[in-house]
C-alpha cells in the first residue's frame, strides 16, 4: 500500500455539556468541555443556577439577622460566613471581644474545617470509584459532626457566633469529652492519610492529574488548598491571623501545610495533613481555653465605617467587605468566596487531561457553587465570543456613557 494517499484523521471536536444536573455534581453548575478524542482541549464554566440574591437581601435586614442569612450562604462552611460577618461588624463597631469568645469561635472554625476536609476526602474517593473508603470516611465524619452538635446544638448551620462573642459556653464536661473524641479522630485521620498515599486505587488516579504549576497558580490567584497544593504559601491563618489564630501562630507549634506536587495528589495531601494539623489546633485551643465572659455587648447601631474581614475557610480565603452607615443595617456587603477565586485556575487544570479525569479535577478544588454564584450579564444575541482587552473596554464604556448621558 502506498503511503502517498494516507490521510491523517483528526478526531472531531465534540462539546460535551456536564450539568446543570449531573450525577458527578452535587450542585447545579454547567461545564462545557470541548474534547478531541479523549483529550479535553477547552473548558468553559457556566454557573449562576444557585444565585439567590443574598447580598441584596442583606441590605433590608439588621446586622443580627444578616448573621443567620450569612450562615446560609453555604451549608458546608456555615461557621465561616457566620463568624466572618460577626468579625466584620465587630471591626466596624471597633469593639474587642473577650478572649474566651475568640477561642470558642476559632474552635468552631477548626472543627468545621475538619468536617469539611473529611467530606472532601470522601467525595474524592467516590469520584475515583473507591466507594469503600468513601463510606468509611463518612462514618468517621460523624464523630466530628457529633462534636459540633454537642458544642453548638446543630449539625449544620451552627449559629455559634453573635455580634460581640459567641452564644454558647463550653462546660468542663464537654471540654474533656471533646478532647477524648479528638484522639479517636486523629487516629482515624492518620489511617486515612496512609490510605490516600499508599492505596494504589486512589493514588494512581490522582498522581500527575490536573497539573497547576506554581506560576499559574500565582497568576490566576488561586487560594486555599488549591494554591497550597501548588506550593503557594497563602493561608490567612498564618499570614494575617485574627481571633485566637494569633495565639496559635505565636505558640510556634503549627505550620502551614504545603505541597510541591502541583497535581490533584498534592491538593489531596495538603487537605489530609491539614486535617491532622487542625485536630492538633483544636486540642491546643481546648487545653489553653481562658476563663472569662463569652460575650461583649455591642450597640445595634454601628457607626459609619468600611471594613474588610478575612478568614481562611476550608476552601481558601473568604473576604467580607462591609460598609456600615450608622443604622442597624448594612449599607453594602460583599462576599468573595474562595471557590470564586479558584474558578480561573480550573480551566487551566482541565485542558490537556482525559475526559475521564474531569470529575476528580472538578472535585479537587472542592467547588462550592452556593458560595460563588454571582450575577453576570451575557449578550446571547450572537454566539460570538470575543475577548476584549481592558483598555478597549474602557474606551467603549466611556463612549456608552457619553451617548447615554450616564443614565442607567
Amino acid at each position: 500500500m502506498s503511503t502517498g494517499n494516507r490521510k491523517t484523521v483528526t478526531p472531531p471536536r465534540v462539546t460535551i455539556p456536564i450539568g446543570p444536573q449531573h450525577p458527578a455534581l452535587k450542585e447545579p453548575g454547567m461545564f462545557k468541555l470541548t474534547i478531541e478524542g479523549e483529550r479535553i482541549v477547552d473548558a468553559e464554566v457556566n454557573i449562576g443556577y444557585n444565585h439567590r440574591g443574598i447580598e441584596k437581601l442583606a441590605e433590608s435586614k439588621t446586622h443580627l439577622q444578616v448573621l443567620y442569612l450569612a450562615e446560609r450562604i453555604c451549608g458546608i462552611c456555615s461557621a465561616t460566613h457566620n463568624g466572618n460577618y460577626a468579625q466584620a461588624v465587630e471591626m466596624a463597631a471597633e469593639v474587642e471581644i473577650p478572649e474566651r469568645a475568640k477561642f470558642i469561635r476559632t474552635l468552631t472554625w477548626e472543627l468545621e474545617r475538619i468536617h469539611s476536609h473529611i467530606l472532601w476526602l470522601g467525595v474524592a474517593f467516590h469520584e475515583v470509584g473507591f466507594d469503600t473508603a468513601f463510606m468509611y470516611s463518612w462514618r468517621d465524619r460523624e464523630i466530628v459532626m457529633d462534636m459540633l452538635e454537642d458544642l453548638s446544638g446543630n449539625r449544620v448551620n451552627y449559629s455559634m457566633n453573635t455580634i460581640g462573642g459567641v452564644r454558647r459556653n463550653v462546660s468542663e464536661e464537654l471540654r474533656s469529652s471533646l478532647l477524648t473524641r479528638l484522639d479517636k479522630l486523629e487516629e482515624r485521620m492518620i489511617y486515612y492519610r496512609d490510605v490516600a498515599i499508599q492505596e494504589k486505587t486512589f493514588w494512581n488516579r490522582v498522581d500527575g492529574v490536573g497539573v497547576l504549576e506554581t506560576s499559574v497558580a500565582r497568576a490566576t490567584g488561586a487560594v486555599g488548598p488549591t494554591a497550597r497544593g501548588s506550593n503557594v504559601p497563602v493561608d490567612v491563618r498564618f499570614n494575617d491571623p485574627t481571633q485566637a489564630y494569633v495565639h496559635l501562630r505565636d505558640s510556634g507549634e503549627f505550620e502551614m501545610i504545603l505541597s510541591e506536587r502541583c497535581d490533584v495528589a498534592g491538593r489531596a495531601i495538603v487537605r489530609v495533613v491539614e486535617t491532622i494539623e487542625s485536630i492538633k489546633m483544636c486540642r491546643w485551643l481546648l487545653q489553653n481555653l481562658p476563663d472569662g465572659p463569652i460575650r461583649e455587648r455591642v450597640r445595634p447601631r454601628v457607626q459609619p465605617n468600611e471594613v474588610l474581614a478575612r478568614y481562611e475557610a476550608p476552601r481558601g480565603e473568604v473576604v467580607h467587605y462591609l460598609v456600615t452607615n450608622g443604622t442597624d443595617k448594612p449599607e453594602r456587603w460583599k462576599v468573595r468566596a474562595p471557590t470564586h477565586a479558584n474558578w480561573v485556575s480550573m480551566r487551566h487544570t482541565l485542558i490537556g487531561n482525559y475526559l475521564a479525569d474531569a470529575p476528580i479535577i472538578l472535585a479537587a478544588i472542592d467547588p462550592c457553587f452556593s458560595c460563588t454564584d454571582r450575577v453576570t450579564i451575557v449578550d446571547t444575541d450572537d454566539n460570538l465570543i470575543e475577548s476584549v482587552p481592558l483598555d478597549i473596554m474602557r474606551v467603549r464604556a466611556n463612549k456608552w456613557y457619553r451617548q447615554n448621558g450616564g443614565k442607567f
Partner: protein, 171 residues
Amino acid sequence: MGFLQKLINKARVKSPYVFHFNSGSCNGCDIEILAALMPRLDLERFGVKLVGSPRHADIMLITGPVTEQIRPRLQRIYEQMAEPKFVVAVGSCACSGGVFRGGYNVLGGVDQAIPVTAYIPGCPPKPTAITFGAYKLLEVLSKAFGVAEKKEKEEVPFDITAAQSEGVAET
C-alpha cells in the same frame, strides 16, 4: 387490581429509587441527605437507592428555594421522570423559601414550580428526620397503592393531651 399490578406496586414501595436535585440550596440539606444514606443511618436498608438520572427515579428529593434560573430546568427534569412520580421537598427553603423568602431571584418553595407530595422541614433537617420522612412517605404510598401490610395489633393513637398532662404531673 390484577395480580401483576399488585406485584409491581409492592415492588415500587419496597425499592423506591430516589434522585437528588439541588435547586439553589446552600448544601446543608444535601450533605444531610448524603449522611442519611451513609453507614450510621443507612437509608438503603429500606430499599432506598440514590440514582443519578431522573429517568430511573421514582422519588425526587429537592433541596433549596427555587431560583429563577433553575426553574425551567427543574420543570423539564420533573417532566422527564416516569410515572408514578413523587416529589419530596427537603428543608425549610424547599418548603417555603426559608431565609431567602422575598429575595428577587427566588420563588420561595418548590410547590411554586412543581407539585410536591411530602415536606420535610428543618434547617437543615437532621438525617434522622430525613429517614423518618422517607419512611412516612413509603407508608403513605403503600396505603395509596393498596399494598399496606395488615397490622396484627391495632395501633394505639398517640394522645398528645394525655402525654402533656403526664409531663406536667411529673414536673
